[in-house]
């Protein structure tokens, strides 16, 4: 029973990691850029929802606030691509990495300036409600996290597979030049990708904020999600989710059975093991180019 409880809370945490990892993978898949500000976009999503929903701030109905937060962070993602990322388009990967790390700092301080640096709690209708299933006590927030994550991943997966725009996003990441030759507007697709990653981050943020308090440094969680994306195989959407779940599960167990400090180390240790044994991640797409 004890370990079942651990599994459930681990899964719920893992879903949040998975959603952030999904944002990493989305952007990487479509633009070959790694967005180290993804965790901070998640934080921004959480705070935007909080700012819209909490009575001490705007006090809008919860669901309106959720939709508002998703739209706003998607717009932020689009704007960042449009104004900043496009300028380093075609530059080395390192430039993008440094730029996005810096963007993370900026987002953190912007959030700190608007909402303060103290922990705040989102007034969410699903927080603190418990559901009994047999002998198991589950938080409604945990169930919601798992369900929303599964739905969102399935929707994104279907979008990439089935729609023309989704396939074009894959095409422009696999061969950007050829995408240009086919008349695919690659730059507009990059903007759209960042908006989509922003929306995903906002959902992750709202779910995370439903589980506990948030402060501007919450976004540092993104590093753990990055490890999750690497474990899952950068470039695979189901892999990102799987990696997130693995990281989420390993944490409580490491804390319970090894020593509490190890829960922080475990995800990265696992990432190293995966990199040694399966350098392309658990679920990866690898191909060699024919000459």
């Amino acid at each position: 029973m004890d370990s079942l409880q651990l599994i459930v809370s681990g899964l719920a945490n893992g879903c949040v990691y998975g959603l952030i990892a999904l944002g990493f993978v989305l952007i990487y898949k479509a633009t070959e850029q790694v967005n180290f500000a993804q965790g901070d976009m998640m934080m921004l999503g959480a705070f935007t929802a909080l700012g819209l929903a909490n009575d001490s701030h705007l006090g809008l109905p919860f669901w309106v606030a959720c939709i508002g937060a998703v739209v706003i962070v998607a717009a932020v993602g689009w704007l960042l691509e449009r104004t900043v990322l496009r300028r380093v388009f075609g530059q080395s990967q390192l430039a993008v990495v440094i730029l996005t790390i810096a963007l993370g700092f900026v987002l953190r301080f912007v959030a700190g300036t608007i909402w303060g640096h103290d922990p705040l709690t989102l007034e969410s209708p699903i927080a603190g409600v418990n559901v009994r299933l047999g002998g198991l006590v589950l938080g409604l927030d945990e169930i919601a996290v798992v369900l929303v994550t599964l739905l969102l991943t399935a929707a994104l997966f279907a979008f990439f597979r089935r729609t023309k725009l989704g396939v074009a996003m894959q095409a422009s990441s696999q061969n950007q030049l050829a995408a240009y030759y086919m008349g695919i507007p690659v730059k507009r697709i990059h903007g759209f990708t960042w908006a989509l990653a922003g929306a995903t981050a906002a959902v992750a943020g709202i779910l995370f904020a439903s589980k506990g308090s948030i402060d501007p440094n919450t976004g540092l969680l993104g590093i753990k999600a990055f490890a999750a994306a690497v474990i899952g195989g950068f470039g695979s959407l189901p892999g990102a989710l799987a990696g997130g779940l693995v990281v989420g599960l390993i944490e409580p167990f490491a804390a319970r059975y090894v020593a509490s400090g190890y829960s922080q180390v475990a995800p990265y240790a696992l990432m190293l093991v995966v990199l040694i044994l399966r350098p392309h991640g658990i679920l990866s797409q690898v191909h060699g180019k024919k000459v």
Partner: protein
């Protein structure tokens, strides 16, 4: 001439600091196959890239049916009916054949897409068999066919073909070039064909240009080029014999 489809006038383009095209002019009449021959670095690929809008020229004009298209975005040029089939195939490796073809039709939203796909399978039956296979796992020849088929999906008026023979066996080159010829005759697709395989290119082309170091040094109907002594020597590999059975001099190109 009123039936000129594509006209390039005094084009100059830089590749970084290198002047890749130094004032080239050429014409592709409606429904014709025009080939551009030349060695590595002659500026052939740059020429095609400037036409398809992937590169901007520094000077000069590119006219499509009289309308200036240089410096337009690539997607606008594709919509106007110019499709670039790049060197080295450049298929989308992780997408399957069907998705690759769908990407070729990205700029289109008319009902003719499915019809065109059937038409293409008529020319390239192997692609229909491989419909669900990811393009990266196709053989080189199949990838080249896919690249051409993907270009055709945009229903182009003119195709810019960059070295379709690259890395293929002579049998496959023959097969692909005869399909190109058929596409030209039956569908009326004009082609600007850049090639190092001069023999294959001159066999199917109506007209040819020779480029060297960014300039057009020679032009003429394909037949006449194929009979030209310089072309025979430098591009078709024919060796003249002297009266003593061996040759002790190096011929100079007469256009130098």
């Amino acid at each position: 001439m009123s039936d000129v489809l594509l006209e390039i006038r005094n084009l100059e383009a830089f590749y970084g600091p290198v002047m890749a095209i130094r004032g080239a002019s050429l014409e592709v009449p409606e429904g014709a196959i025009v080939t551009v021959l030349g060695a590595n670095g002659a500026g052939k690929t740059t020429l095609l890239k400037t036409v398809s809008g992937v590169m901007d020229p520094d000077k000069g004009e590119v006219l499509l049916a009289g309308e200036s298209i240089e410096r337009s975005e690539p997607d606008r040029i594709v919509r106007k009916g110019v499709v670039h089939v790049p060197e080295g195939r450049e298929v989308f490796p992780l997408l399957d054949v069907e998705e690759n073809l769908a990407m070729g039709a990205w700029t289109r939203s008319d009902d003719g897409v499915a019809e065109d796909r059937e038409m293409i399978f008529g020319y390239f039956p192997i692609l229909e068999e491989r419909l669900r296979q990811s393009a990266g796992t196709l053989s080189g020849g199949e990838q080249q066919m896919l690249a051409i088929a993907r270009g055709l999906m945009a229903r182009p008026k003119i195709m810019l073909l960059d070295e379709p023979s690259l890395g293929l066996s002579p049998i496959l080159v023959g097969e692909i070039f005869s399909i190109l010829r058929r596409l030209n005759e039956e569908r009326g697709v004009a082609m600007l064909l850049v090639e190092q395989n001069a023999k294959a290119a001159l066999d199917i082309a109506d007209f040819g240009y020779v480029m060297e170091l960014g300039r057009v040094v020679m032009d003429g109907p394909a037949k006449r080029l194929a009979d030209n002594r310089d072309i025979r020597e430098f591009y078709l590999g024919a060796k003249e014999r002297s009266q003593r059975g061996e040759r002790r001099w190096k011929r100079r190109k007469t256009w130098r």
